[in-house]
Symmetry: C2
Subunit: 334 residues, 2 copies
């Protein structure tokens, strides 16, 4: 390993390796080591929650959104996954010389609308311009700051417990396949739209209800398989998933078949996994079903007190280990 490969940005195994070998030995502050969606840190007498992401999605406009709305939704969701109420977002643009100002306006409008819809204020910004061919059109970095919804209730990927129930909040893989189809100009009968959305309202209702929510993790780079592996590793539990219960739309399944992709590894940008106690699962599902993006929420498996890994009971009845993403399935998905 002496050169950066596309897979180092995949969110899968190579990303983890880069984190372990390059970033964590230097940035040894305790916050990054947890590998959570967002960090919870002391601030005056309370706590603040911070998350950051860069967005390099290609194409920058896709069915269901663009890089502007995506950069806001993604960061809002990361804060929510720790039980935080998103308050502020700082946004920074790197733009290629010659980029269309009309397109920039459209992107800024989408970001602004996404922030307003979620009740989040854009607090700080920056713009840098690089010469032609020094960047591909436009990249956006967003950092979100929030406060804990309830300081006594935090959730994290290390809190899954044996006998917990695993819920997926909706059908997976729409974002990844929308990007792939847009990139390759696929002409499907029904266009696949990205699921990019702020999950804030649903998460806040889940947190307000008197439920035992242990882990929330958004299904992004590396897909459901990577998301579940991260929880299993951090919580040191085994997660058993029933493949036939994993919600996948017919269009996503069809497009995945054409491209030879496994939907379990395809990114969503408006879906989460919730790990909840057994007696909280019915109520959690009831809440999720109230939301457009949660209407297909379903129990997909459960947690066992066994070796930290993910087991998939396949549709044909066999069981296999489901590993996290290796290599790079879909570069520049977000």
């Amino acid at each position: 390993m002496d050169k950066i490969r596309l897979g180092h940005g995949s969110g899968g195994k190579l990303s983890q390796q880069l984190l372990q070998e390059v970033f964590l030995p230097k940035f040894d502050t305790g916050f990054l080591i947890q590998c959570q969606d967002a960090a919870i840190a002391p601030f005056n007498k309370s706590k603040l929650v911070v998350s950051t992401d860069s967005y390099v999605v290609s194409p920058i406009f896709f069915p269901g959104g663009n890089i502007g709305s995506l950069s806001i939704h993604g960061t809002i969701n990361d804060l929510c996954m720790r039980g935080a109420k998103p308050l502020y977002i700082a946004i920074s643009f790197i733009i290629e010389e010659g980029f269309s100002i009309e397109q920039l306006k459209e992107i800024v409008q989408s970001a602004s609308t996404a922030a307003k819809d979620a009740g989040v204020e854009i607090i700080a910004g920056d713009t840098k311009v690089v010469e032609r061919k020094a960047a591909d059109k436009i990249f956006i970095s967003t950092t979100g700051v929030g406060c804990l919804f309830d300081e006594s209730k935090t959730c994290g990927i290390e809190q899954a417990k044996p006998e917990d129930i695993v819920i997926a909040s909706g059908d997976i893989g729409c974002h990844g396949m929308a990007i792939m189809c847009a990139r390759n100009n696929f002409d499907l009968e029904t266009q696949i739209e990205s699921d990019s959305a702020s999950l804030k309202d649903m998460v806040h209702e889940l947190l307000k209800a008197d439920l035992e929510i242990h882990s929330l993790h958004d299904i992004t780079r590396g897909g459901l398989a990577t998301c579940l592996n991260e929880i299993a590793q951090s919580s040191k539990v085994s997660i058993d998933i029933d493949e036939e219960n994993v919600p996948v739309s017919a269009q996503v399944r069809g497009a995945c078949e054409i491209l030879g992709l496994d939907p379990l590894f395809v990114a969503s940008e408006g879906r989460l996994v919730a790990i909840v106690s057994k007696n909280s699962s019915d109520k959690a599902l009831e809440i999720m079903h109230k939301y457009h993006y949660g209407k297909n929420a379903r129990v997909i498996g459960d947690v066992k007190d066994a070796k930290a890994r993910v087991n998939l009971r396949t549709t044909i009845g066999s069981t296999r280990i489901l590993d996290m993403l290796t290599g790079e399935q879909l570069p520049r998905i977000c």
Copy 2:
């Protein structure tokens, strides 16, 4: 104006125009409109301070630093300019496929050292990888979060008052000229080193002392001239500067002459302008002189109750209006 030009990222007039025409109409949250180095926002019962910047400097390694240390110093300084104590930094990397992992390690090490030296914790991070030629080596975005050093004392570029004294904390333009010389492989007798540094300790000592510090503004993109114009516009005052008092090193002056550049428009990354009351200026200078990067601090002018602009009394005795940077003098300086 239908395409992004390099000048839109210069920090000068075109940047201001882009802000006014594209960003502010959409991100109309009140925070951005102030155009401060950092935003001060309510958080629980206290206040937090946030600043964000993307770094696209080229070359990524230069005498006196690299993109890693620069990205930390810049964001720390922006927080300090509002009277804030920097606490946390979120850092996000966009890396070109094929980039050297050894160089990445060196950059991460520099960023880590810069953060530790300033007592700031890296709280969150992200890495994206794009294919070859979709980015030029590596870009870094940093967002800083801090708390006000003293909630009753904030400073800002809108707080300069007539009769105030204008102090430059050191000789200007070293960073910009170090980058230019490195980019063009200039072989000067004495190498110019970037002045990139955290100004945190000096600023905190200034704020702790019982002084009337009205404005602090770091001299970055667009140089001293742009920095002063931003203060004059925000505070609605006139600022009179004596050119012969503006500290410029012989090397920077020489390199500027060769390249036909005016040092007043060349970026620093470890210098600030302080606008203080008349009776605070001696003590402020005394404090600055204690620091390596403040040892050349000098009074360079004063504030008048007149039309918002900057007047330069030149070395030959005439007076001319000093405008902010127009166009793009030095692209990708930070």
